[in-house]
Symmetry: C2
Subunit: 452 residues, 2 copies
């Protein structure tokens, strides 16, 4: 049996390792246009920051380890076509083009940075995206001489890079086309993130929201001016484009595999595409949302790993459904933890719910403890049923703890009233006597039913 996997960052690498363990006699091969396989893309901001100096720390499994496990890895080998009828793929490397036969195909082509339509964006060598190992190496190199950086986009990666640059003494300008940071959160929580970050004393960074970058200018291959549509100009020594990502679904689409409304590959719970013997997993495919039931595209490393595992199991003939995602995420920017799960208020309305929310601001531990911080927690529930729908937390380390408890409640489809009876741990260094989660539930209860 020939098992072919296209792509090998997270989902592909996991799928390869898992299926070889399940089917030791099968031929398992990874084909990727990348120079590396099995690495932590999420770790790039910390490599750039200088938390560690050897990029090989980002590698989860080396090519040698894959080979030792009996898995072939073909780097810099781009799959140009999937030939469904003949169950073959067309591979092109620097010197050759050749066909490879598969019995089971697992597509794990991932996603790539979205490059906004900016005049000059492709003309310079000091404009970077943050996705691959080389991106990290190149940004670190450029950072050595740079004093100013412009970051285009203020999603999680944009803000993680802000931290990396600030810690290295650079002056940072973030330009965001939306009117707020981290627009995947509700507006009130976005505003809070900005307020917290802008409250840092002697900060060396500025946010410009509602500004669209219209042009990048420079001399030779070196960009040095970023212009926005409103006429602002920023001098800079380097530019980061972190304006979102798009799924690498074209290869599948061109072969005739069904693509979902999100633009990512459509799969069922067994990670099967519309074509027999072809699976997809990771950032290139959509997944069901556990609360809305809708197909969503939430490309995250943790999900990619789980989907890779499921794809491998199902391809090996072991029933293993992937039930879906909650969109749980966490990110850090300087003094601020940003975490969320489930639906935002806007998404809740779109999904047909009547959201009601509670926002609680509280210390992260008992106020008399040293290093006390604060957390603002927003919980969203359905006004009619009391069903918990989602939540967002901003603040000190420990904000993520509340979101993981809430994610578990969402998984279990708990109502506000049920969650109120939760017995969460308490000790002064870890929490307030009444955890903010329970305060929020009490507030929501009275909004839903005066004495629930």
């Amino acid at each position: 049996m020939n098992i072919v996997i296209i792509g090998g960052v997270a989902a592909g690498a996991k799928a390869a390792a898992k299926i070889k363990r399940l089917l030791p006699d099968a031929n398992v091969a990874i084909y990727t246009d990348d120079t590396h396989v099995s690495y932590s893309s999420c770790g790039l901001p910390y490599y750039i920051q200088g938390n560690f100096s050897d990029y090989r720390m980002l590698l989860v499994r080396s090519v040698e380890e894959f080979n030792a496990a009996g898995i072939e890895v073909y780097l810099e080998s781009k799959v140009e076509k999937i030939l469904l009828k003949q169950q073959q793929i067309l591979v092109c490397n620097k010197t050759d083009a050749y066909l490879v036969k598969y019995d089971k195909l697992i597509i794990a082509t991932g996603a790539r940075p979205r490059i906004p339509n900016i005049h000059g964006v492709t003309n310079f060598d000091n404009i970077f995206t943050v996705r691959k190992i080389e991106d990290g190496i190149n940004i670190r190199e450029q950072m050595k001489t740079a004093k100013k950086v412009v970051i285009v986009g203020s999603g999680y990666i944009g803000l993680e890079l802000l931290e990396a640059f600030v810690k290295n003494g650079l002056q940072v300008t973030v330009i965001e086309r939306s009117n707020r940071l981290i627009s995947s959160l509700d507006a009130d929580m976005s505003d809070l993130i900005r307020k917290r970050l802008e409250s840092i004393k002697d900060r060396n960074f500025e946010f410009y929201t509602g500004e669209i970058v219209s042009e990048i200018k420079g001399e030779g291959r070196v960009a040095n001016i970023v212009k926005t549509h409103s006429g602002k100009e920023f001098n800079t020594d380097m530019i980061i484009i972190s304006a979102g990502i798009i799924p690498n679904s074209e290869l599948a689409k061109d072969a005739g595999i069904e693509i979902g409304k999100t633009g990512a590959i459509k799969v069922n719970k067994l990670m099967q595409t519309s074509v027999p013997n072809v699976y997809a997993c990771g950032d290139c495919c959509e997944e069901p949302h556990l609360i809305s039931g809708k197909s969503v595209w939430v490309p995250l490393g943790s999900t990619a790993n789980k989907e890779g595992r499921c794809a491998a199991m199902n391809a090996a003939g072991i029933y293993s459904p992937f039930e879906g995602v909650l969109g749980s995420a966490v990110s850090r920017c300087l003094n601020t933890t940003i975490s969320m799960t489930g639906l935002t208020e806007k998404q809740a309305i779109e999904a047909g719910f009547t959201p009601v929310s509670a926002v609680v601001s509280k210390t992260d531990k008992v106020a008399y403890m040293p290093d006390v911080g604060d957390i603002t927690l927003k919980i969203i529930a359905d006004k009619h049923s009391g069903l918990l729908l989602g939540g967002q937390a901003i603040g000190a380390f420990g904000a993520d703890k509340r979101i993981n408890s809430l994610a578990t409640a969402l998984l279990a489809h708990l109502t506000v009233k049920e969650f109120k009876h939760n017995d969460l741990t308490y000790s002064p260094p870890y929490s307030t006597t009444i955890d903010p989660l329970l305060d929020a539930m009490n507030i929501l209860c009275s909004k839903i039913n005066k004495h629930c």
Copy 2:
């Protein structure tokens, strides 16, 4: 309407504040033999450690605040008797004894330290328990001149005090009659706590387990030698007795109110005792365990607050059941977070389950991050049904995060198979790509059903 509350540390203080808000026209009065009301007993180890220097930081609400809210507070006023037939209590203070009429009575008498039967234990002024504000003040004072301390008992409070003394440069000896530390956890996890603590370089503390203190000797009012039954002798400048607590249920028992098998006051879900118009809440009463269904006595500050709130609501005529506890707890000792929820293996067997467990040791964040720590997580489930039963976590800050997610799963009666689909947050500073909770679930799944 006269509402009388006996005791005012956590449950009593909460009940008083809540019922006055619900019934503003009622007379609400707290009677306590304590010198303070509404304080954080759990914060004493941190006050002793010196994390803050004013003990008033431990006060949640002052007497003046209670009075301003229309609540009377009678300090150093011991309730000697509850006269059920006439709905009165007998109060004794320094100068008087008097009767007080109640329409609703809320018993929140709390718990007190258990004093083991040790020869000489009551003869000296430098032997302390850790429960009240004065205990904290007295220990801090004694600590100024002390160089050596013996702690009798290695539960949460014993280990929290160990941290406090070690941080203040004292040489600490912990004597524990059981053969392991924190015997409320499973033995394998207890051993791990000891191993972690004993791995601290140049540590200034020693554990002696399986040793029973038989005698305390001294000169005048100053104890200076602690002897154990095996013949060991320890010189010391002060002694802490932290050998567990017992419920203050005698007052209720003497009045004829039903006491549960645990020795604490029996209440139903509405916090009603066996006698009409008499409620109990907090450390003096039992509560149902959400997994075993049994009546248990798990005296904790977070539960006391919730029970106080429920007692007040029900006493005010608003239906508000307290569903029970999971026994969720967290504690810190130096480099080690200790956290648990639900049933231990032993408790699971006693409750009629067939426990199967998974133990996962993993870094608390991605290994390349600075300050990476480690967490060992044990999850227990029922082999037949797959129902999650409990868990324990030892290690870095963040161990408690996993336990709170698990507590939520226990509340929702999730199975291992259901939890496997959880979407927990991931980012390198916060977690590994696959959270240890999910690793444990995968291991448990294969123990329950090869490919679940």
